[in-house]
């Protein structure tokens, strides 16, 4: 079983599915000769040729809109927005068209496209290279929004995304890209979109996180266990939309205490929707106010202060202690 970084695992999924299915094509800026600025698509041009690994002009709307047209014709385009912070020029094509063609044509056309993009802070990058704006996509009906937290899940969810009959926005936490290695099975492994996973069991507290922040939540859970004897159950959301509320609602009924962690700004973020579901479905089991540990409602600061902006292990622990004391 190979031990891979997230970058290598994503490349493995792309390569496997391109070998399986000649309707899969890749397009984006610098994805061919350069292999992508993070090298995710490295080597794919050599194996599959320029017709299937397409270096596009520098035009995000083209990348999104051309993918829509390819999908209408029956291809399965996997396009790359070089950074999520540059995806807004392509957002119009994703919101106004990718998400709507099935309904607009009353089922004649489906849009099985994947839009991959690196997101999130923590790599000391320039402005526009560190944000976490998954909610722009999650708020759009007709789209699926997936954020893996590690190599194995990234590979298995990307395979599911490429095979999905509807458009999937696939956010890749760039802070995790090369942060650690994980064993990824050679054999095909596909995880269903729309299902969260309990990655740590516990009876005292429910922690919900995704992407790079899952690892901060896990560090906090370990510390709470060691110093406070608190058993935190940690849920990796994996899919932001459609949101799987079954596992965290059930967990909250057991623990009565909830902390939600994400690096996106707080107001109207994913945690707000999660809290709404908890109130709708587990209200009478909650023993204390739900805590959110998130980015602040500001533009993410330039990298000298990005670690202060991001939810840290200690901020999460502090929030957990607050809710447990109540």
């Amino acid at each position: 079983m190979p031990n891979l970084t997230m970058i290598e695992a994503i490349r493995m999924a792309l390569r496997q599915e391109m070998r399986n299915d000649d309707s899969v094509v890749i397009l984006g800026e610098d994805v061919g000769v350069d292999g992508g600025v993070f090298r995710v698509t490295d080597g794919l041009l050599d194996e599959f040729g320029p017709e299937r690994v397409i270096d596009t002009p520098l035009a995000e709307s083209l990348i999104g809109g051309c993918s829509v047209g390819m999908a209408i014709y029956g291809l399965r385009p996997v396009c790359e927005m070089q950074f999520s912070g540059f995806s807004y020029l392509g957002f119009h094509q994703i919101e106004s068209h990718a998400s709507r063609f099935r309904r607009r044509s009353q089922g004649r056309f489906q849009i099985p496209m994947v839009v991959r993009m690196p997101y999130g802070a923590g790599v000391r990058a320039l402005e526009h290279h560190s944000e976490s704006k998954e909610i722009y996509y999650a708020h759009t009906p007709g789209l699926k929004m997936v954020i893996p937290s590690g190599p194995r899940k990234a590979r298995a969810l990307l395979l599911a995304a490429i095979r999905d009959p509807d458009p999937v926005i696939f956010f890749e936490p760039k802070a995790v890209y090369r942060a650690f290695r994980e064993e990824v099975p050679d054999r095909e492994e596909v995880f269903p979109i729309g299902e969260s996973e309990i990655v740590r069991e516990g009876k005292d507290l429910t922690m919900i996180a995704y992407g790079a922040m899952l690892h901060r939540a896990m560090e906090a859970a370990e510390l709470l266990d060691k110093e406070d004897g608190v058993g935190a159950e940690v849920i990796d959301l994996l899919t932001i939309s459609p949101l799987d509320d079954s596992k965290f609602c059930e967990s909250a009924r057991k623990t009565g205490h909830v902390v939600i962690v994400h690096e996106a700004p707080r107001s109207f973020g994913a945690a707000a929707e999660i809290m709404a579901r908890l109130i709708e479905k587990s209200f009478y089991y909650l023993e204390a106010p739900i805590e959110r540990v998130t980015g602040f409602d500001i533009h993410i600061p330039y990298f000298a202060r990005e670690q202060e902006y991001l939810p840290s292990r200690d901020r999460i622990v502090s929030a957990a202690r607050r809710t447990l004391e109540k």
Binding site: V25, E51, R52, I54, T56, P57, A59, S61, L62, G64, G65, C66, S67, V68, G69, M70, A71, I72, Y73, G74, L75, P77, L89, H92, Q93, S96, H97, F101, R102, R103, R104, S105, Q106, G107, R108, F109, Q110, P141, G142, K144, P165, D166, G194, S241, P242, L243, D244, D245, R277
Partner: protein
């Protein structure tokens, strides 16, 4: 290291074959088959009358806002008639004549304009996209389809429509640029109808023609009298042949005029004079075609009447069928149809809760 001139293509052809008096340039006359010319007439009459009926129904409150085509029939029929059945048509939102040529159901168009998503249905066998409302965005879908055709090595081409206003949008430039680089089988048809709602063509761009914008992307650009169906068909046929033969994309600028309102929510007296409209009314495409066809002995009073009667019959029948369909489309839950292959669980919960609410409402 002197300052040198770099030669770039710089001459735009303007083609006109049939003038507004119905006089034809004998040398340029493409001498199209009689049956094709007669079909041009039938479909231009049908499109014109259908448009008029939609406008009347809108004024009566029976259909919603729509974009009339009056004056642009030749620009559409002349271009769309170059497509084969398997080719793809990618419309904007003012292409009723082109859609009719491709066999769109009049009843579907009525139903769509009456506010029902069901009217947007695209039949399985039709390689046509639904109308696209955000200006210029559909150009990129045409480019994507053309890329897929080339990748699959199929003998198909794509034709897409947009207006003069669209040429200021980024998607127009991104689309033409990539189509040029990749040599894609696509025909870009700009219906320059002189106005983007209130904005006149002269303020939309400093370029003398829209056709010349093609040169920046290394592809051919040609301008044509958009109210002259013979000239439009001639340039479109050349562009279609080029695309089909692997020669890549072409930009066609059809110089035409929107004789009606932008949409039924628009008041054109705010931005243009009646005198200007009257001038263009003289150049309108249907009467011009009729003059030519009469000269060639393809059309007489009886044939005109017969085409008019047939159009009226089809339109009446379609509206009657549409009213019946509207009476049957009473289920509000249909709004949840076709969101995704499978309705997500929480959306399903919302639908079920709404269904329960509707049941109680009906019980009251």
């Amino acid at each position: 290291m002197p300052r040198n001139h770099v030669e770039v293509p710089g001459v735009v052809d303007y083609l006109s074959i049939l003038n507004e008096d119905g006089k034809v340039d004998e040398e340029l006359d493409p001498d199209l088959p009689k049956e094709l010319l007669r079909e041009f007439h039938r479909k231009m009459v049908l499109s014109r009358r259908f448009d008029e009926r939609l406008l009347r129904l809108q004024r009566e409150g029976k259909v919603g806002t729509f974009a009339p085509i009056r004056g642009q029939e030749a620009a559409q029929i002349g271009t769309v008639s170059c497509l084969e059945k398997e080719d793809w048509l990618v419309p904007a939102f003012r292409e009723t004549a082109a859609l009719i040529w491709r066999g769109a159901s009049l009843s579907d168009i009525f139903l769509f304009n009456a506010g029902f998503n069901e009217g947007g249905r695209i039949p399985e066998e039709a390689n046509v996209l639904p109308i696209a409302i955000p200006v210029a965005t559909q150009i990129l879908h045409a480019v994507g389809i053309a890329y897929a055709i080339k990748y699959r090595k199929r003998d198909q081409i794509v034709l897409t429509y947009f207006g003069d206003g669209a040429t200021s949008e980024g998607d127009f430039h991104e689309g033409l640029n990539f189509a040029g680089v990749a040599g894609l089988p696509v025909v870009f048809v700009c219906q320059n109808n002189q106005y983007a709602i209130s904005m006149p063509r002269e303020k939309q761009t400093k370029s003398r023609t829209i056709a010349q914008k093609a040169f920046a992307y290394g592809i051919p650009g040609v301008q044509v009298d958009g109210n002259d169906v013979l000239a439009v068909h001639t340039v479109a046929r050349e562009a279609a042949q080029r695309a089909r033969g692997g020669g890549g994309p072409t930009l066609i600028e059809c110089v035409t005029y929107r004789l009606a309102v932008h949409t039924t929510a628009d008041d054109p007296t705010k931005y243009r004079s009646q005198k200007e409209v009257d001038e263009w009314e003289k150049r309108e495409p249907l009467i011009r075609l009729q003059k030519y066809l009469r000269q060639r002995g393809i059309l007489d009073d009886q044939a005109v009447n017969s085409d008019e009667e047939e159009a009226a019959r089809q339109i009446d029948e379609a509206w009657k069928a549409t009213k019946d369909r509207i009476d049957e489309l009473t289920d509000p839950l249909a709004m949840f149809d076709y969101l995704m292959a499978d309705l997500p669980p929480y959306t399903k919960e919302q639908k079920e809760a709404f269904e329960r609410f509707l049941a109680t409402r009906e019980a009251d």
